[in-house]
Symmetry: none
Subunit: 415 residues, 2 copies
């Protein structure tokens, strides 16, 4: 089945709110065997709504509509569907009673405002989808093999309706089509360099392969379809294997895994602790590490040594800064060691570099030295990132987590 999603609402077109409903549904449709072909956001005007629905009925099997089910005059979803299906809206007495009960239960005056009456209407092609979280019932409108599902725009009303009313009906209809997706995450290669290694895998429909540049590296995404889970997995497996082999040590994770989680799990596993000293990343490394629940077990703390005095105050020999400059491999190593030693941690990370857009003392902006250290050894790598403050911070953090991971992996368990 081919689907499209229509989000009705001028406030989305004004950039007032970000439409998260569409991605909520889009994320869930593949596993129901339904392919989303289009997502469109349409302003609250009758003409636009009707045109969008008509085009939808022509090109898609099923159309998911959010928004426009409220009681006000610019809520026009019901009217638009009725026009497209050529049917007349009428009050449904049972719906009306439910709605009146809803208002009575809410307290206040207990009477339903007149404007809410239109939420109790339906057309002959419609099956009502209940909405225990609000006043707007959903519509499942079906005619001549075309389906329009209209749901409220309030996310928690939509999500409840999606799960309990829409998903079961979709399951009944999607026979034997399963879509699987897998994301493979790499770091250290450019998009083109990474893509070139598996060039021959692109351009197919099933398995479909996409490639995306993300802040934590280049991601590959494989999407496959099969009549059964087994069939889909059989299509997925060889492609996944081929990508893993072609990208080798650049691959660091799959699906929703983050680098900070992965390092955290490894540290827990090895009973090791971590401390950091950061300069140009300004706390983003520590903040990323502490985004992981339970990180207090292995993360002892960190120092943000933004000025040279701060570096010295926390254990970096001022002579090293004088001899080599604040942005140098020697200082990064001294920072990693100082963090580890001051806080009695097993692993230390030190980062020094230039996050701003201008060269400092002849050192190019975007230059970052990252050092990782343990009792047994200290390593350091120099990176050059595009000179943009948030980007340098984020990329340096990813690189640091990756280096720490590889240091710990080479580390013998100490218990």
């Amino acid at each position: 089945m081919h689907a499209e999603i229509l989000a009705f609402g001028t406030e989305i077109l004004m950039g007032e709110i970000v439409d998260t409903n569409s991605s909520y549904m889009a994320r869930r449709l593949p596993s129901l065997g339904i392919e989303t072909r289009f997502i469109s956001i349409v302003g609250d005007k009758m003409e636009y709504l009707v045109n969008a629905l008509k085009r939808g009925v022509e090109r898609s099997d099923i159309i998911f509509v959010t928004g426009g089910l409220g009681p006000t005059e610019d809520d026009l979803t019901r009217e638009a569907i009725s026009e497209v299906f050529g049917e007349k809206m009428e009050i449904d007495q049972e719906l009306l009673r439910n709605l009146e009960d809803f208002f009575r239960a809410r307290g206040g005056t207990g009477t339903m405002p007149e404007s809410n009456r239109k939420q109790a209407t339906r057309i002959p092609s419609v099956t009502i989808l209940s909405n225990p979280r609000g006043t707007a019932p959903g519509w499942w409108a079906e005619k001549q093999n075309k389906i329009i599902v209209a749901m409220p725009g309030v996310p928690n009303e939509l999500e409840r309706m999606w799960e309990f009313e829409v998903t079961p009906r979709l399951r009944e209809r999607s026979r034997g089509n399963v879509i699987l997706a897998r994301t493979i995450k790499t770091f250290g290669l450019s998009e083109s360099a990474a893509g070139d290694r598996v060039k021959h895998l692109f351009g197919k429909d099933n398995p479909y392969l996409g490639i995306y540049a993300r802040q934590d590296g280049i991601h590959f995404r494989i999407i496959v379809q099969g009549k059964t889970s087994t069939e889909a997995e059989e299509i997925l497996r060889p492609v996944e294997k081929e990508i893993n082999e072609a990208l080798g040590e650049s691959v660091w994770g799959v699906d929703n895994e983050t680098m900070e989680e992965r390092l955290g799990n490894l540290l827990l596993d090895r009973h090791l602790s971590l401390a950091v000293m950061e300069s140009c990343t300004g706390g983003l490394l520590a903040s990323s590490i502490t985004d992981v629940p339970g990180s207090s077990t292995y993360f002892y703390g960190g120092i943000i040594a933004y000025v040279n005095d701060a570096k010295s105050a926390y254990g970096v020999d001022p002579q090293i800064i004088l001899d080599h400059g604040a942005v140098s491999a020697e200082v990064a190593q001294a920072m990693a060691n100082a963090a580890r030693e001051t806080l009695n941690a097993d692993i230390g990370i030190g980062i020094t570099g230039i996050a701003g857009e201008f060269a400092v003392n002849g050192i190019e902006p975007g230059t970052v030295f990252i050092s990782t250290s343990s009792m047994a050894r200290t390593e350091c790598a120099k990176s050059l990132f595009p000179p943009n403050r948030p980007l340098v911070k984020r990329r340096a953090v990813t690189q640091a987590l990756l280096q720490a991971y590889s240091l710990v992996q080479g580390q013998v368990p100490i218990d």
Copy 2:
């Protein structure tokens, strides 16, 4: 002018990423006098892209496209525009040289992968939009009064291009109708409490008033239209004044201002320096402060004291922790003072609390003590945030920046 926005990318249709670029542009178009009529998300297939562009050219004056400008085979935006305009893509020698320079500057092998060549192409109707943050130049394609603007999908590349390349060109063209928008940012009130104070201002078309709950508080957004800037401003001014009066001391900023910029500017102004010691925010406070360009002038550094030993190692008297517990006003104050004194800064901030979802030693999750200190005085406030890790971190940081701002404001300039 009527605009539509097309976001190209199968990953958005799969719900893999939420399209934030469209709302970034949609939020900025009204003030340029441009009305957004449609936003559509389209999968990476040539046929879909061409159809979407053709429909766009028929119904809109200007089409903003994001994504599909990368070097890989499923990056088809250039090809689709060329087909719609009936023109042939050719290598632009200057673009090619720029691109080769970009790769040389990046280091590595220094040679540009063959696949990147297509990023150096253009058609006769295209003016190139430069992209100093990446390899994909933008296209401003204009033919027979129709404009297609193609920009990269990576948000920070798009945002730079939007601001420096696209906005000035749009300003030249938008004559007559002026749309103005103003965001007023408040903190410390709930959405309903804030909304109730200016209830009578909602529900109008011009001025239009929206209210939104954001991580740094409740935002009001006023949108007005006028034939001239003066007319628009005359409609805007009284509403803005009324909101400012009704919300009083809860208002902390307007439009794009962030709390960290605002504090930074005040510190610069007063020639004061800042140091921090954080526990539950885990570095997010320091990272937010250092997101501001030039922050190294006033921010000396910080300590992330994630475990009690770390607090003591950096100047918090262990006896205070023993007497009052790690999550207490006394420890927050000791942290603020220790940060300030160890780093010789004028102002110190200390944060201790519970970011996780479980109570610790009988203290409710979401409890955070935030202290600000100067030579002259130390203050502390207790907050209770919804117990959700990223939310507690973000809200505590906002609260800390706000408290520091108010402390510094009360501070006599020292020079």
